[in-house]
């Protein structure tokens, strides 16, 4: 009898604990750790993105949060860099016990934090960094990229150039001398060589990151007279280059291609002439041709403008994409768990292969083979439009991500080398500004 009582008690304990592990209790809050630049030159992206995260979290919580749980944000300054960034990331994951992280803007930060997230078994969304190589070299379980990477971003810009200015013979590049400046040129030039091998590269200029003066580069380009000048610079560097080039007539002499120039358009105002090709680093633009009349999209843009004084730029949309991906993954995991709150592992399982609607562009799929986001790419040309004190994008093309992203398991540069001149003939819809 004694034995029977003990066996029943033991059975009850087992059932109780097993039951607990299957039906995770709903937490009081869903904690998200976000790395973003709050200091240094890249804070031109990081600070608007932080404002967007706060705005989105507030809105989400007003609507009941994710799966009925309010979200709570912790921010880490990427500007600290190096070991300080890794330590802070570990602190937020291990001490604050965040449920997910969004890291990071810089590809350098992503390269550092991705293995740490994997080690700590915390789900991480690379929400803005562009280096394609991170997900090409290793398969991760806990790391996902909720946007495109540098390969489709640069390829879309090149395809736009080849479609709209097919007869150019010479090109020069002026990129910042750091990883992105070098890698983006490698992507662009490899694809250019494959699709239009007769183009001559007349100058490859990589001025120092943060250079205050481009006079000599501008003089050299004025003397060389290339048909096309490409720059994938950003922030103050891009603003300075465009203004110094404009003051001396270079923008009028050559066709300028601003690979990720969307984020500078509002700041450059009237200094940006018409006819420059501008990439948006994804499928977003505050007057997106397929979404500009959507009430929720307009409300988001106007709320952001009211909060910060400027229309959203790409890091704002990238931040929003990370939230949309998280919300979709949790909803999916809750549904698969019979309506109960899922474990972290169940959320990770649900995230791979997820397709999520962004609300401001076409849906994005997190490719299950390598967790890479497949995002369309929007590219346009600058145009003056009455009612705006800065240029808008006209003749917008939106490129299908399945066409311009390298297949999973194939390195970007190797894939780009296989492209043929016919690749440019792909059918892409074009939208007029007004």
């Amino acid at each position: 009898m004694q034995f029977l009582k003990a066996a029943v008690a033991a059975g009850l304990v087992v059932v109780t604990f097993t039951g607990t592990s299957l039906a995770q209790s709903k937490p009081s809050e869903l904690k998200i750790g976000i790395t973003t630049f709050l200091s240094g030159p890249a804070s031109v992206f990081g600070v608007p993105a932080k404002a967007a995260a706060e705005m989105i979290a507030e809105d989400l919580n007003k609507k009941g949060g994710i799966g009925g749980v309010p979200v709570k944000l912790s921010f880490i300054d990427e500007g600290a860099g190096g070991e300080a960034l890794v330590s802070n990331y570990r602190r937020v994951v291990q001490d604050e016990k965040v449920d997910a992280t969004f890291a990071s803007i810089s590809s350098g930060s992503c390269t550092q934090l991705v293995p740490v997230a994997e080690d700590l078994k915390v789900m991480n969304f690379m929400w803005d960094c562009g280096a394609a190589s991170i997900l090409e070299t290793k398969k991760y379980r806990y790391n996902f990229r909720t946007q495109a990477n540098g390969t489709p971003e640069m390829l879309a810009v090149l395809l736009y150039l080849l479609k709209t200015k097919p007869d150019f013979k010479t090109i020069a590049v002026v990129n910042q001398d750091y990883a992105w400046g070098r890698e983006s040129w490698e992507i662009f030039s490899t694809a250019l060589k494959a699709m239009k091998p007769d183009v001559q590269v007349v100058a490859e200029l990589f001025p120092k990151f943060g250079a205050p003066d481009y006079s000599t580069e501008v003089s050299r380009l004025l003397a060389l007279r290339p048909d096309v000048v490409l720059t994938t610079s950003w922030g103050g560097d891009l603003d300075t280059l465009v203004r110094q080039a404009g003051q001396r007539g270079l923008l009028q002499q050559s066709t300028f291609v601003l690979g990720i120039g969307e984020s500078s358009i509002q700041r450059l105002g009237k200094d940006l002439p018409e006819g420059l090709i501008v990439g948006a680093r994804g499928d977003h633009w505050f007057l997106h041709p397929e979404k500009k009349n959507d009430a929720a999209f307009k409300a988001f843009n106007e709320a952001f403008k009211a909060k910060t004084g400027a229309w959203p730029i790409y890091p704002v949309y990238h931040m929003a994409q990370a939230f949309k991906a998280l919300q979709t993954a949790y909803d999916k995991a809750i549904k698969s768990n019979g309506g109960n709150w899922p474990t972290r592992e169940q959320v990770v399982d649900a995230t791979g292969g997820t397709e999520f609607a962004t609300g401001f562009g076409r849906p994005i799929t997190l490719r299950p083979e390598d967790n890479q986001g497949l995002e369309a790419q929007l590219v346009g040309v600058t145009k003056s439009v009455p009612g705006y004190d800065f240029k808008l994008l006209d003749n917008i093309m939106i490129f299908d991500p399945k066409m311009i992203t390298n297949p999973a398991g194939v390195r970007s540069v190797e894939w780009l080398k296989t492209l043929k001149p016919d690749f440019v003939k792909m059918d892409v819809p074009t939208f007029k500004a007004q």
């Binding site: 200091s39 240094g40 990589f206 050299r220 003397a223 603003d239 003051q247 001396r248």
Partner: protein
Amino acid sequence: MNSTLAILAILDGISYAALVFLVSVGLSLIFGVLRVVNVAHGSLYAFGAYLAATFSLAIAPISPWLTYPALLAASIVIGVVCGGFIERFLLRPLSGQEDVLQLLITFAAFMIMDNLQRLIWGVQPIFAAEPLRLLPNVAVFGVSYTSYQVILLPGVALATLFGLRYFLRRTLLGAVILAVTEDREASTAIGIDAKRVYFVTFVIGASLAALGGALASPTTSLVPGMGADMIVLSFAVAATAGLGQIEGTALTALMIGLTRAFVIYLQPEFEVLVPYLLMVLVLLVRPFGLFGAVQVRKI
């Protein structure tokens, strides 16, 4: 490289050298007199640029030509307020103590000012090009240059160089500064107020840093971190010239400007290395800099 490109490179080099000189000379002057390596110099440059842009943007609607006095006014305000504060309340209390403390306190000032800059002016790039737009472009061999960069900036740099020479060698206050630089104890013994000399020198040096920033503001975007970049370059120029050497700073700035310009035309991948490569080469051969002299230490 043909002669046309060589002339273009020389013009570019002179234009860049003018700006580099204006930023570096204040650092060199402060070290020459106070023997302080002022790490906050980059912040004074950045504050000068931001305040000049603020003044310019505010005054341009009234009259664009008033933006020029606005640049000067901004430099003086930053030199007197920020420079004066740093010397009086941060450096003077450490007078006579170990040099490393002065280095640390100016580094602390740099960090504080860097954050203050973000609080006051935010993180979005600011651009105030009105002074540059007022002047016409000039064409050299079919290549367009702005008069601001190839005429005005070198002109101001030359005026600063000769103005400083005149001030230090032909005026009473200049003579007093040189006397304190030469021998502080002896000059104090004959009634010179060394503390006042240090204060005035620091304010002049800080104003020159701010003037460099103010004059750069119409040509470049003002962004967080701009001060840090400039302090590194300024140190390279001042160290190559020999700390405290004003004429040497001018010649070194010219050397760096010209070499950099030719490198961009011929081997652009080495552009970033130029100032530091020159510094290393010079210091290996002449540890006190191109124009520095061996110092006799008093025991």
